[in-house]
């Protein structure tokens, strides 16, 4: 050991760490304490997550048990309503048909249900938090390091407490996905509202708008492009995360990818991967076209 340190004494050679014994005690203390708390409140936790569990199962059943042509028709209708672009609808139809042809329809439905629920939760949480952050500088300064942690902490790491608390299954999967997917929603809502033209806000003030009228009449409509970018990012992050979430027992395309990794099934891996890409592109194009359509007033210049 000393040889790697040019013969220096140990204190200078190696960074003085806490003794192994202390560290072990600390680890065990925290882990056991945490488990103890979770065990103590397990009933309450179960009760709290039951509606989520029910919602997830219902949606997944709805997606997987409905005949494929109805699901396809519904998806294409939604894409059409959002984008009003026949090109995007045709592209989506081709993508979905390819997924079906390669036998991935049911897994895709499971994943879609999962992503849909996670996205809805992420928006429902992210929008109000983003609005609060835009209104209070102090809240923003507290929130921003938390978001940094959520975005940079490797997702496998926070899967551990999630599993400890919620066990294995869909609910912990959704929670992990939401933790991963909600930061862009919060950040972009906050940013969008803060970027609204100060003059327009002042005009609203000058006409006597109260804060509710300002929020719904000015700030949200004018920050909609940025908020829609947040929704778009959230969907993309959720799709990326479903593969990781399959490690805690979420089914669908992610599980197939995980199996393919473990068994080195090259073809299965890529087919499932491409299925995820196809869904991602459909979501992305449809939501972007929707966001653009909401902004049609800003397109036509007067000259």
């Amino acid at each position: 050991m000393a040889s790697s340190c040019w013969g220096l004494p140990e204190l200078i050679c190696q960074f003085p760490a806490l003794p192994d014994k202390t560290l072990r005690l600390m680890r065990m203390g925290i882990d056991n304490g945490f488990r103890g708390i979770v065990r103590h409140y397990s009933d309450q936790i179960d009760a709290a997550t039951r509606p989520l569990q029910w919602f997830l199962n219902t949606l997944e059943n709805a997606f997987t048990n409905t005949p494929w042509f109805i699901v396809l028709a519904v998806i294409l209708t939604v894409v059409w309503l959002a984008s009003r672009s026949i090109k995007i609808v045709i592209g989506s139809a081709i993508g979905m048909c390819l997924i079906g042809v390669f036998g991935l329809w049911e897994d895709t439905m499971t994943t879609l249900a999962m992503v849909a629920v996670a996205t809805m939760i992420a928006i429902a949480l992210g929008l109000p938090i983003g609005i609060l952050a835009a209104r209070s500088d102090r809240f923003q300064s507290v929130l921003s390091p938390i978001l940094d942690v959520m975005q940079t902490m490797p997702s496998f790491v926070y899967l551990i407490p999630v599993v400890v608390i919620f066990g294995i299954g869909k609910v912990p999967g959704v929670i992990a996905v939401v933790i991963y997917a909600v930061p862009p929603m919060i950040r972009l809502t906050n940013l969008g509202i803060r970027l609204v033209d100060k003059e327009v806000i002042e005009a609203a003030d000058a006409f006597g708008a109260n804060s509710r009228q300002k929020l719904w009449g000015v700030q949200l409509p004018l920050s909609l492009p940025t908020i829609m970018a947040g929704v778009n990012q959230t969907i993309m992050m959720a799709l990326a995360m479903v593969v990781v979430a399959s490690m805690v027992g979420v089914g669908g395309l992610g599980k197939n990818v995980l199996q393919a990794i473990n068994n080195q099934f090259f073809t299965i891996g890529f087919l499932n991967g491409f299925a995820l890409v196809a869904i991602a592109i459909i979501f992305d194009r449809a939501s972007q076209a929707f966001g653009k359509r909401l902004q049609k007033h800003s397109e036509a210049g007067h000259d």
Binding site: V200, A203, D205, A206, F207, G208, N210, G301, H302
Partner: protein, 367 residues
Amino acid sequence: MTDSTNTAPKERSGIEIRNLYKIFGPNAEHYIEAVQNGMSKDELNDKHNHVLGLQNINLELPPGQISVIMGLSGSGKSTLIRHINGLIMPTSGEILYNGRDVMKMTPDELREFRRHETAMVFQKFALLPHRTILENTRYGLDIQGIDTAKSNPIARRWIDRVGLSGYEDYYPNQLSGGMQQRVGLARALANDADILLMDEAFSALDPLIRMDMQKVLLDLQAELKKTIVFITHDLDEALRLGDTIAILRDGKVEQVGTGQEIVLHPANDYIAEFVREVNRGRVIRAATVATPLPEGDTPLPKLRLKGATTLELAARKLAERDVRNATVLGKDGRPMGVIDMHTMLTAMVTPATVDDSEDEDSEEDAA
């Protein structure tokens, strides 16, 4: 030009600004006393890092008239106008309207005050880009909670009054700057508020469109008789629109008066510098330079001019009729004086109250 003989109903209240100070900075309250006791703007800025925005403003803005507040950038004029509807709160002082102090209003009262008593027009229009022209125009009414069935006809009427009929369903950025500001004006007028605050409302417009908008405003004002506070950095605009003009510099009022008073009797060198380039013929009125009626029963000139006629217009009329003098009528419509070409020319070229230094300048120039 405006007929400055507006007679406002007796009951109406103007806006009174008393001992208004505004210091910008985190600790404004702390320095207010020092400033009131004469600490200079520079000292406050250099030593204490606070900015003195307005100092000891005392102004009366009479009801039913256009009061112009003029100053260059940084003079505090935009800060001052924002005090009137409480968008900026003073560090000390009072803004009185109908006996109430805007500064002392609760947030709810202030909101009601802004909804019903004031309306504002902004330099960069500040229209809502996601609302159509119609929806923009009725914005103030929407805020008041008025049903669209009621507010739409009102909005349509004002859109028509500012000459934008047919554009109701356009979005603001489909319109030119001049048209957008007409919407801004319509939005403010639809509110039916007594006070109209115009913050450099026409400064962002091309000169010709600006003249056009000034005419629109004067025409509307002749009929509506609102209490208008108009901010501008352009003296010509101030003289054209203002019943009274207050000139602001470094947060202080330098001079208050009618356009004629300011042009004829500038209070100091700063203002004299300002008014030097002004076209006097368009500012000075016949009544101001008319000589008293001749004694006895000398016949009066046949051509009769209103006292408020500008010299430029009076000169044109005299030239058209090919006469040398005219009778000037007072406010009561009876002859009050006589004016001739020579007096008019003298007044238009050099001030009627001869400023000696300027006279010498011109002689030197000639030599």
